[in-house]
Symmetry: C2
Subunit: 462 residues, 2 copies
């Protein structure tokens, strides 16, 4: 048996008294994230430097204690939940933007920098980091990278991994290593940076990230298209791409989402239809006018009952607000219920979006759950909001069944259980079904890099 | 000692008599690629299915014989050269486009499909695979993926790894495994597809690839800007991005390249200046006019001596032709010399491009070599063309010195020895200097996946 007091003393000597805790109340705070899962840590530390993190990991490796890296704790899959106890390493003190090099289109940040903070600083200079998670005001860059996050703009701008140039990593051995390159492109050696993107802290801890940035587009416009039929909305998406247009965002609110938003914000001028598509285009002023007009034409030809183009900032912001509040609005239709993050991140090939939306309605009807669905149709990524009375055990039974059926349907339609939130604990049970023999490859890599299995164990079915 | 005749019999029984050879002339053909390196294989096989490849790899693993996957042999780094003998597996019989799914923006191809063939098929439907290597008419998709290739459009469209959704791989054990997803985005598990991108066949053999495609842009324009100063050309690149424009291509021809092109094609209407920038923009007709006008303004403000906008197809094609022939033109200035592919793929942060161009001139002067330099300035990727009289041993000495100095300079400027051609044998000696401790991580991965080191051994300094 390991002497906990002895380890705690060592941890305190590494990070300082004020940055280490075994206090019951503190441990409880770090037992959760946004998911319904929990697990009690033995220690919580808040290191201030990569070197301190390296010392902590060395200690953990020596005693074979789990290490759980944690950013803002805004993850929805239980990735930062210490299911096997151990040391939670909170990374929010490493929150400096170390370098902004606009001429070379890159920045260097510490993992604890909040996503919105980075984009606020970049906006002052006319640049942006294109990945745009809904949790921008909370999520840290380290968490975003570790969970392979993305957001609404992935249709045109891709996902986090496309922007990671170089990472500094504390390996499970406690060694600090830099992977990747400052060069805008590189074909030199294995693609190590991307091995750590989406690895959820199971292979090492990110202590620095060099990210690609882009100049802000000169102008944006929004096209709203209302459809009385889901299939037609799906076709409009396909036809828009076929017309040579790649929108910067392409969102869908189905009837359930529109009703929720309308209940939550009655003054918002949005139609209640089977499906509302929001197309965001960006580029030059004349370019976006042309693209918006073309999208309008495509949508009308595909059976839209109403199309609306917003170029004024006011209307643009009002319409995006409808999309932004939908998460919060999901419980508006069910005031005594709480949203539980389960099956909330399925992704299917674009042409299967109408089919899975109907399937979700069918599952909701079967179990008597009013499921609100919205998401990034342009990348096939949907966020069904499962809501239950969390004080009722029977409701939990229902939740697990609904979750199972929705995620199984996504896999059957050639999709994945997670487009941008990660696997963590929440989706681990689907890994074998999704990846088959490739799971063995993941396990071989995990074992080679972390032979003592100290790095965030119990996650991703590894 | 292994009985070669016995192995040859087994190989023949797997792929058929007509697809296996130990003939000296055949072995000689497979001893080379475009690089100056060579190595004699023991066997050459041309399998027709992934299952045959799996059988060959199992046999190789049993006898611990090297396996060297080969596409068109158009690689410039010696990646397909069998330095330790063994079985060359030529993949060009696997040359089918298995699926074109425009609605879901994806295709499935076998590794032996030639890049240009894929894009010809897609063009008929109004789509394209945006990665555009200069070797499009030769290079196979499998080679492109394995070498982490890219091309002129990477500024806007990224590199090969950004388009790889799913791969079927024959692992070193001979097992066939599928990694990745059909979903447009996924945060599920380790990013296995990208582990095989750029791995140069050292971790497995790609037998199928699902790739993302995009709709063809509606229109394109080209802006030519001539500068009497390299520094100003570099600034024009930075200022163009700063103006919110991300060109689809951004190429540079320096004085040496312009002179070579002019000697090779005297009728081409191009100026002889210190640096010529070619900006390609794509999008909607009005959008590209606006962008081209803005680039013209930026270039003039940054000191361009002449700016020319081409929107007509004729002028557009003529100007791109100047860029396309520069490789062939490199020996025009030195008719008794041959181009040797060494130090031909350096990449540095964009702002260091003028500096390294000057450095290359200085090195050329020092060694009395007329080095022609051109490349993708928008991604910092330059292709210096080293030319020598290959029949003269002293000239080879000179070549190695020039290569060493250019590549060392690239590393010192925060760059890499290869932006898109790969490491192979050619750049293996720089791996430690470039990656430091990260090399150990690459070796751990290699050893975990290929414990008998049969997959393309002797490459990438692994």
């Amino acid at each position: 048996m390991v002497d906990k007091a002895e380890i705690f003393d060592k941890l305190k000597s590494i990070v300082g008294e004020e940055n280490a805790s075994m206090d019951e109340a503190v441990l409880r705070v770090y037992s959760y994230d946004v998911s319904p899962y929990k697990g009690r840590p033995d220690f919580v530390v808040r290191p201030g430097t990569p070197e301190e993190i390296a010392e902590i990991v060395k200690l953990a490796n020596q005693y074979k204690i789990p290490v759980i890296p944690r950013g803002a704790g805004s993850g929805a899959a239980g990735g930062a939940v210490p299911v096997n106890g151990g040391i939670v390493i909170e990374l929010t003190r490493l929150n400096r933007i170390l370098e902004i090099d606009t001429a070379n289109l890159q920045v260097v940040v510490e993992p604890g920098v909040v996503h919105a903070t980075l984009n606020k600083e970049l906006a002052k200079l006319g640049y942006f980091f294109p990945v745009d998670p809904g949790s921008t005001d909370m999520a840290t860059i380290g968490g975003l990278i570790s969970n392979g996050g993305s957001g609404m703009r992935s249709v045109k701008y891709g996902v986090t991994r496309d922007y990671v140039m170089q990472l500094e990593i504390v390996l499970p051995s406690g060694e600090i290593v830099t992977v990747g390159s400052k060069a805008p492109k590189s074909a030199s050696g294995y693609d190590l940076p991307r091995l750590f993107v989406g690895a959820e802290g199971t292979l090492g801890i990110i202590t620095k990230a060099r990210l690609k940035i882009l100049p802000m587009p000169q102008a944006k416009a929004l096209v709203l298209a209302a459809f009385d039929d889901l299939e037609k909305a799906g076709n409009a998406v396909v036809n828009t791409f076929a017309a040579g247009i790649v929108p910067s965002g392409l969102e869908i609110l189905d009837r359930s989402a529109l009703e929720a938003v309308k209940t939550y914000r009655p003054n918002l001028d949005i139609p209640i239809v089977e499906a509302l598509l929001l197309f965001e285009v960006d580029g030059t002023p004349a370019g976006i006018r042309e693209e918006a007009a073309r999208i309008e034409e495509v949508c009308k030809n595909t059976g839209a009952v109403k199309v609306d183009i917003a170029t004024s900032k006011e209307r643009f912001d009002e319409l995006w607000a409808a999309r932004a509040v939908v998460g919060a609005a999901t419980t508006a239709l069910n005031p005594d219920c709480t949203r539980v993050y389960e099956a909330e991140d399925i992704t299917v090939p674009i042409t299967n979006v109408p089919k899975i939306l109907l399937k979700i309605r069918e599952i909701g009807k079967k179990y008597g759950m009013n499921i609100v669905t919205f998401g990034h149709i342009g990348s096939g990524n949907l966020h069904p909001a499962l809501v239950i009375n969390v004080l009722d055990d029977d409701e939990w039974d229902k939740l697990w069944k609904v979750s199972e059926e929705i995620q199984t349907a996504a896999l059957e339609m050639g999709g994945t259980t997670t487009g941008e939130h990660g696997i963590g604990i929440a989706r681990a049970r689907f890994m074998e079904a999704e990846h088959g023999k490739a799971m063995e490859l993941m396990r071989v890599i995990k074992k080679a890099l972390d032979p003592n299995n100290i790095m965030n164990p119990g996650k991703m079915a590894l």
